[in-house]
């Protein structure tokens, strides 16, 4: 049956292409993007969409290709059931040559089963589950794994002479990888992890946990949270008068963190791949464009990830052109080397994992600043 479908498609294609070869070339190249546009995580999905639109508009205006590229957005609500349905829908649409998304690892991985079977390249801007890129040769991501970020943080703390660390992270696949990615290298360096715990995402009250952390007397806390939980945690730390330096990952990198927690955010250390203040033409162009669309607010880590993911995909389209098929797109994405994105240079290793450089940052007087 699959054979017959292919046959039908190619016959149909041949029928269109043959008489109107010149015209058929103008048909846009279509990419699917599955992301949560409604539901509890809609804020992230809406940001991705906004970033993707900036990237796409710039690309189509640049005239890098004689044909326009289109992105079809579908709402997954961060629900695995919906994610799989969308994946099926994308696979059915023979115009779609590649797919971006989803946001959470759960949904990305459920959808990945479909893309693996159908042979469509899937590039997620954020799925950080350790096994995501290993599902098949069709899965890629451009977010750093926690093995990388944890090692940088561990090294950083070690240099500062921090020996006892408390670790907390959200109870998700991502949080699990944050803890593992940090504790393994930190213990290898001779450090001690005095406290390790997870919390459920969206927990309103961290005070019990903070009191517990304080009781173990660590030199620092290493945290795996997104900016909303982060803001709650930092505010309640200050509220309880607990004064322990906090280290975190790039997921907390968002101006909203400072907006929500005010002075409590000062003194937070984190690693990041994207700094809106970086003196770089590409970064500044994106930041300006973003600010003009969002009342002057600077973009955080996640929109930047999406922006890069879309650009990596577009670059792959250029590389594959004019023979843009699902197969050629897979090769083109895999061939990405040193892509100069706003989150740093991206290359993919043989598993589809990105290799990136991380910068260190801290919050001073209500602003993120790079630590040299």
């Amino acid at each position: 049956m699959i054979l017959s479908r292919r046959l039908t498609v190619s016959l149909a294609l041949a029928a269109t292409v043959a008489p109107l070869a010149g015209w058929a070339q103008d048909a846009p190249i279509v990419i699917g993007y599955q992301l949560p546009l409604t539901g509890n995580t809609a804020q992230y999905g809406q940001d991705f969409k906004s970033a993707a639109e900036i990237a796409l508009e710039k690309f189509n205006a640049s005239g890098a290709l004689p044909v326009p590229v289109e992105i079809i957005y579908e709402d997954s609500r961060s629900d695995a059931k919906e994610g799989v349905t969308i994946a099926r829908k994308f696979v059915d649409n023979d115009d779609i040559v590649a797919v971006l998304g989803d946001f959470t690892s759960t949904v990305s991985m459920a959808a990945a089963q479909v893309y693996k079977k159908a042979g469509v390249v899937q590039l997620s801007q954020t799925a950080s589950h350790p096994d995501f890129a290993k599902i098949s040769e069709w899965q890629f991501r451009n977010i750093t794994t926690q093995d990388q970020e944890g090692a940088v943080n561990a090294e950083w703390m070690h240099e500062k002479g921090i020996e006892k660390v408390a670790v907390i992270a959200e109870q998700t696949d991502w949080g699990q990888s944050v803890v593992k990615g940090f504790t393994t290298p930190f213990k290898d360096m001779g450090g001690e992890v005095v406290f390790e715990e997870f919390f459920n995402r969206g927990l309103a009250d961290f005070r019990s946990i903070i009191t517990k952390i304080d009781e173990t007397n660590p030199d620092a806390v290493y945290t795996g949270f997104f900016y909303e939980d982060g803001a709650q945690f930092l505010k309640q730390m200050e509220q309880l008068g607990v004064d322990i330096p906090v280290y975190s990952t790039s997921a907390a990198y968002n101006d909203k963190l400072i907006e929500l927690s005010g002075e409590a955010a000062d003194g937070l250390f984190l690693t990041a791949t994207f700094l809106p203040t970086r003196e770089d033409a590409g970064v500044q162009e994106f930041v300006e464009e973003w600010k003009s669309l969002h009342d002057g607010a600077a973009p955080g880590q996640f929109p930047a990830q999406a922006y890069d993911a879309v650009n990596i995909m577009l670059e792959a389209v250029v590389r594959a052109y004019p023979d843009v098929t699902r197969e050629s797109m897979r090769e083109a994405v895999a061939a990405t080397t040193d892509f100069p994105g706003v989150t740093g240079n991206t290359s993919f290793d043989e598993n589809g994992e990105p290799l990136k450089e991380l910068t260190k940052a801290t919050v001073e007087n209500g602003e993120f600043v790079e630590v040299k």
Partner: protein, 332 residues
């Protein structure tokens, strides 16, 4: 050909000839996916119907038993390489067993107390899925690479999967249907109408409730296993409180106490969000409004119990000759 036979044959033709023919004509994975999800949720709604619709016990934790089925199937498949043929019944039995254990202390409760107890049980099971990392893999979820191997035949094609899922669903629904439209079903209905009166008539209320609860969990477990085998990846969030509420909404919207109603409710609440996909971000508001409208204008559901019972009698025919005076059962 009698009318009853005609309806039966009609349904079989619809499920196994018309729908597959349409699916194959379009040959779109998207439609297959929706058909599969719809089948899973029809089974789920039908199983909840037994407890909530027939026995009248508000069950707020049904998704957890669905989750047990899914986890058992997925873990057996990924850890021990036990396939579909054994995994499916194992999933149902495991869910039924857990239901039996939790039912032991709680089945004496009635009305809202029962509802809250099931809420607590559902939430506790969900917390176990999420936080017992060493067994359930916690938030990482379980990846299940083996597809459906049906007595040694690997079923790979979309249409094959559709047939397997639909056949199991249809068989289960028929079992539930016969169960609820029998004297046993009437005993369950008596619990709903007046359990003290039923007890006075010699019905062992607690045992009966427990049976309904366990049987319902068994079918929910089957539904969970089907979901696990067809998606290949499960994680705790597929089985949280909102899913329980979704299934409950299906049963209520379709018409409490009516199995065809539950089936229609499930189809409606699965298909409607898909149909409304083009509406964009507002589609869930529409789903809420449709739910509200359905309850407001059809308080007895889209396919209420009375019409359902009439329908059942027509189909089951002679099995129901017992009701000599043709009086309707149920409320009205």
């Amino acid at each position: 050909m009698s009318k009853q036979l005609l309806t039966k044959v009609g349904m079989v033709v619809l499920l196994f000839v018309v729908v597959p023919a349409v699916l194959m004509a379009f040959d779109r994975g998207y439609f297959y996916q929706i058909a599969t999800i719809a089948a899973v949720f029809v089974l789920l709604a039908a199983s909840l119907h037994l407890v909530t619709g027939v026995a009248g016990l508000l069950h707020l934790g049904h998704a957890a038993f669905y989750g047990i089925g899914a986890y058992v199937a997925a873990l057996l498949g990924s850890e021990l390489e036990i396939g579909f043929t054994l995994g499916l019944p194992a999933a149902g039995l495991a869910a039924a067993f857990v239901a039996f254990l939790v039912a032991l202390p709680t089945m004496r409760l009635i009305s809202i107390y029962f509802a809250v107890a099931t809420l607590a049980i559902g939430q506790m099971l969900y917390l176990i899925f999420l936080n017992w990392v060493s067994v359930t893999k916690g938030p990482n979820g379980v990846l299940l690479f083996s597809g459906i191997d049906f007595f040694g035949f690997d079923i790979e094609s979309e249409i094959g999967i559709y047939y397997v899922v639909t056949a199991i669903m249809a068989l289960s629904v028929v079992v539930l249907y016969r169960l609820t439209n029998s004297y046993y079903g009437n005993a369950l209905r008596s619990l709903r109408e007046d359990d003290q009166c039923a007890a006075a008539m010699g019905i062992n209320v607690t045992v009966l409730k427990m049976q309904a609860f366990v049987i319902s969990a068994f079918f929910a477990g089957l539904a969970g296993a089907l979901w696990a085998y067809t998606t290949g990846y499960i994680s705790p969030n597929d089985f949280n409180f909102s899913q329980s509420i979704l299934v409950l909404a299906m049963v209520v919207v379709g018409g409490l106490g009516s199995l065809p109603g539950a089936v229609i409710g499930a189809l409606l609440l699965i298909l409607l969000p898909e149909v409304l996909r083009d509406v964009g971000d507002t589609r869930n508001i529409f789903v809420g409004l449709v739910m509200f409208g359905a309850i407001l204008f059809l308080p007895k559901g889209l396919f209420g119990e009375v019409s359902a019972l009439r329908f059942a009698r027509r189909i089951l025919g002679s099995g129901w000759s017992g009701s000599a005076d043709n009086r309707e059962v149920g409320w009205e």
